[in-house]
């Protein structure tokens, strides 16, 4: 009880939030799979931040090697775990898979973060308007959300990339268009339940304006499901990005460091069949990297959902 009486109101509120975060973290670490997921995700983030700096060169592009020990390696990929210069081997075009994976971590994480964070922001704003205000405006927002929810993900991305051209902004924009409706729905549902709570009523009775009520009470108390949704969506965005790069609808050429792009170097080359048959590592290794990252995100998100849903905690 003593902790609640010392300090300014702000520091008290911060301390309380910190304590609840600590408690959530404790429950999260009790689930071994979620902990492993979190650890792997943190490792990927560290690689994305530090890795490209250590390797050097252009952090966006892979360096192209034409010769190795006097032989052309453009169409003859080197196997993994054999040469120290290329720890994970090379792929078609003479790109180092290891370099592509490390630099691709940064590119993928930046692209996916742009999509997920923008989508969540749009969702929070529109969802809280639709949930708190309701009425005609809320109904209209939800109808528009329904329309966008029925758009097929990769199809609409391909349509946008065809019509507006293959640019980075178009790709990110198309993915945001695909992902914002889910957040609007989640936030609205959450706001509808929080709105009925006693403390919201109390704050309205004390004369708080709508904006203040929403920002101070409603959004902080309905934010956790959004985090869960974000951690689960992050993986899906990475998968869709990789699929778009694999299909070749990209804003960058074959040297662009992106996990899907490394696979596409092998499978879209004229030697694709040979790649499947004789050089399987050009496909399997980048795919395993994607799988590990998305799986960890999903394990972490699943654990997070269990922790933040108090009914599941017991």
């Amino acid at each position: 009880m003593t902790t609640q009486t010392v300090g300014t109101p702000l520091s008290r509120a911060l301390k309380k939030r910190l304590e609840s975060t600590k408690r959530s973290f404790y429950f999260l670490t009790r689930s071994p799979l979620a902990t492993i997921g979190l650890a792997v995700v943190i490792a990927y983030v560290l690689i994305a931040i530090v890795g490209p700096e250590i390797i050097g060169g252009n952090p966006l592009m892979m360096k192209q090697y034409y010769l190795f020990q006097g032989h052309s390696i453009v169409f003859n990929p080197l196997p993994p775990f054999k040469y120290s210069q290329f720890p994970l081997g090379t792929t078609f075009g003479g790109y180092s898979i290891y370099e592509g994976i490390v630099k691709g971590a940064r590119n993928d994480l930046i692209l996916a973060s742009a999509v997920v964070i923008s989508g969540a922001l749009i969702g929070v704003v529109l969802g809280s308007i639709a949930g708190y205000k309701g009425g005609v405006l809320g109904e209209a927002i939800m109808r528009v959300t329904d329309i966008f929810l029925s758009l097929p993900t990769i199809v609409i991305a391909l349509a946008f990339l065809t019509v507006l051209g293959r640019y980075e902004n178009v790709m990110i924009g198309a993915l945001i268009i695909i992902w914002w409706p889910t957040y609007t729905r989640v936030v609205r549902g959450q706001v509808l339940t929080v709105r009925e709570q006693k403390y919201v009523e109390a704050s309205v009775a004390a004369g708080s304006s709508s904006l203040r009520t929403v920002i101070k009470h409603i959004i902080p108390n309905s934010i956790y499901p959004i985090f869960v949704q974000m951690s689960l969506d992050y993986g899906n965005v990475i998968l869709t990005l990789a699929a778009l790069f694999f299909l070749g609808f990209t804003f960058a050429g074959p040297g662009f460091a992106e996990w899907g792009n490394i696979i596409s170097a092998a499978s879209n080359s004229a030697y694709a069949g040979a790649a499947l048959y004789n050089y399987p590592w050009t496909i399997t290794i980048p795919g395993l990297v994607i799988l590990l990252f998305v799986l960890s995100l999903n394990l972490f998100g699943d654990g997070l959902r269990d922790v933040l849903d108090p009914r599941m905690r017991r």
């Binding site: 799979l33 109808r143 528009v144 329904d146 329309i147 929810l149 029925s150 758009l151 097929p152 993900t153 990769i154 199809v155 609409i156 391909l158 349509a159 946008f160 990339l161 065809t162 019509v163 507006l164 993986g235 998968l239 869709t240 990789a242 699929a243 694999f246 299909l247 070749g248 609808f249 899907g260 696979i263 499978s267 004229a270 030697y271 694709a272 069949g273 040979a274 499947l276 048959y277 004789n278 399987p280 496909i283 399997t284 795919g287 994607i290 799988l291 998305v294 799986l295 995100l297 999903n298 394990l299 699943d302």
Partner: protein, 361 residues
């Protein structure tokens, strides 16, 4: 509420969605007029011709008039022509659509069947053996399958199948017994895939499995089954995690109910309790998820068709987008959206039939 009133209400709610979808496709198809008239490529030499074509296509009027003409063409089936650069240029989009739709429907249906056949038993198993090894393995396996890139899983399947497909040297692109990219476009006998060996026979339905049965060719039917199974499995594996999760939580919820305790206490065998009581009730709510996963299933179909050379709408979309064939891209986008909307409608109606309480809301 009667069921038919519910269906009518649900259909009325569909109208704004359809209008919204047409607005989006209209915006996309009219933002870049040069792409819209690619079917006239090579026929426009002077500015006067360009203006004439714009006038013919009603592209010079105000935007709402254009939208009106767009809607008119959309509903009368006048969807334009496949552009040069595609496999058969100049075909009306609707004709091409008739050719491309059955393979996609076939693939999606078989994938749905696999999802149900795998997802429901695994979900039940996971709930019954909660927090024990089968549960952990199922959940981890399902999550790993969902976390795989669809195209990557497809390529892995191709790598797995490659040694079992004896393809003669003269058919491969680069000799040496290596397989070419269209390994899946060829049958094991080295002839082109079943879609292309109709041998002058007409295709009554366009569905591979039905057509082969129609001609009574059992060997071809089994071959077709082999061809449809692998891509369908890839699509199913990358989508079925959601079903397992829902089935599991729904089963757990039902297993905690009073009627289960009653059934157990009066001595009903455990197998019976799970199969007849809990699972039957859990199936109802799992139906709703089918509508939810349909969007991701179709996204998986697009990628898988491209990887496996499956001549469906996803492959068409890929080819059209590759050739900047705007008309075909918009047609496939519209149809895919309609399929998702229709799937949601069917699932809602099915669920309200299974659980009449839904209609009261």
């Amino acid at each position: 509420m009667k069921l038919y009133i519910y269906i009518i209400r649900r259909l009325l709610l569909l109208i704004p969605v359809i209008i919204g979808v047409t607005l989006i496709t209209f915006y996309l198809s009219h933002i870049n007029i040069n792409l819209l008239i690619t079917e006239y490529e090579g026929k426009i030499h002077t500015y006067a011709q360009y203006l004439k074509i714009r006038k013919e296509l009603h592209l010079d009027g105000p935007i709402y008039v254009q939208y009106f003409y767009y809607l008119g063409a959309l509903f009368t089936g006048n969807w334009g022509f496949v552009s040069p650069g595609d496999i058969d240029p100049g075909t009306p989009v609707v004709v091409e659509f008739m050719k491309r739709f059955p393979p996609t429907a076939e693939l999606a249906l078989i994938a749905t069947l696999i999802i149900l056949a795998l997802g429901i038993p695994l979900g039940v198993l996971s709930a019954v053996r909660k927090d024990r090894i089968p549960d952990h393995l199922t959940r981890l396996g399902a999550m790993a399958a969902v976390s795989m890139p669809t195209f990557w899983l497809g390529l892995l399947v191709l790598i797995m199948l490659a040694p079992t497909s004896p393809i003669p040297h003269w058919l491969t692109l680069y000799g040496n017994g290596q397989l070419n990219w269209s390994v899946y476009g060829l049958t094991s006998a080295g002839t082109p895939a079943p879609f292309y060996v109709t041998g002058g026979l007409s295709r009554p339905t366009g569905f591979l499995l039905i057509d082969t049965l129609y001609y009574g060719d059992i060997a071809a039917f089994l071959n077709a089954l082999w061809y449809v199974f692998w891509p369908a499995l890839v699509v199913a594996l990358t989508t079925f995690g959601v079903i397992i999760r829902f089935m599991r939580s729904s089963m757990l919820e039902n297993l905690g109910q009073d009627y289960i305790r009653t059934a157990r206490s009066k001595g009903v065998p455990e197998q019976f309790v799970i199969k007849k009581h809990a699972r039957r009730n859990a199936l109802g709510s799992t139906t709703t998820v089918l509508g939810l996963i349909f969007a991701s299933l179709l996204a998986g179909v697009v990628v898988t068709e491209t990887v496996f050379n499956w001549p469906g709408m996803g492959r068409w979309l890929y080819e059209a987008a590759y050739n900047n064939d705007m008309v075909s891209v918009m047609a496939t986008t519209f149809v895919f959206t309609l399929i998702i909307v229709a799937a949601n409608l069917i699932v809602d109606v099915m669920y309200s039939y299974l659980d009449p309480r839904v209609r009261l809301e």
